[in-house]
Symmetry: C2
Subunit: 108 residues, 2 copies
């Protein structure tokens, strides 16, 4: 069992809007992502998504669950570091395909 | 969509070894637990468990996944605050039943 240190993992990448998988369990994945600016409005038909703020101007230590079907769009005036918990196969832009769409994620 | 503030949630209880559910998604649950002392050695036949250290003498910001079938026993010399991510129905003592076994968890 490997320990995952979030600070070390976040230090391994700088690109925005490109989630990385750092752990998997029960068909779900823990993904880390750095965001900055406005994302695309989208929803996921079949998956609930959990967002946990690791670092950012939103209050740290807060989490939110976006239920399946609910339209959402992350926005970050300054860079925010998020931990996502959702199924492994969830695509970041849900029902929308655009240049920031990521379906095959790196494992770091 | 309600925001969940972990600090506020942890302030709502003090008992040890009694996980509380603070969010649910995709059949999984986010549970908070305060631990102190030694837990019972146990394993879970069918569920992987994620432990994330929110506050404690283990390094904060670290997480570990305990795969199904792997014998484990949390130990905390001083009080530690953990966030668990695992199926809703996972019982804290796995294959063992003892006085700290919790199967019906409060939602806070």
């Amino acid at each position: 069992m490997d320990k995952v240190n979030l600070t070390e993992k976040f230090a391994q990448f700088s690109e925005h809007w490109s989630p990385k998988i750092v752990a998997e369990l029960n068909g779900q994945a823990v993904k880390l992502v750095k965001i900055h600016g406005e994302f695309v409005w989208h929803h996921h038909d079949h998956e609930d998504e959990l967002f946990f703020v690791v670092k950012g101007t939103i209050n740290e230590g807060e989490l939110i669950v976006v239920p399946r079907g609910v339209e959402h769009r992350p926005v970050a005036e300054d860079e925010v570091h998020l931990l996502l918990f959702e199924p492994v196969e969830t695509v970041n832009t849900g029902n929308v395909t655009e240049e920031r769409t990521r379906s095959e994620l790196d494992r770091i």
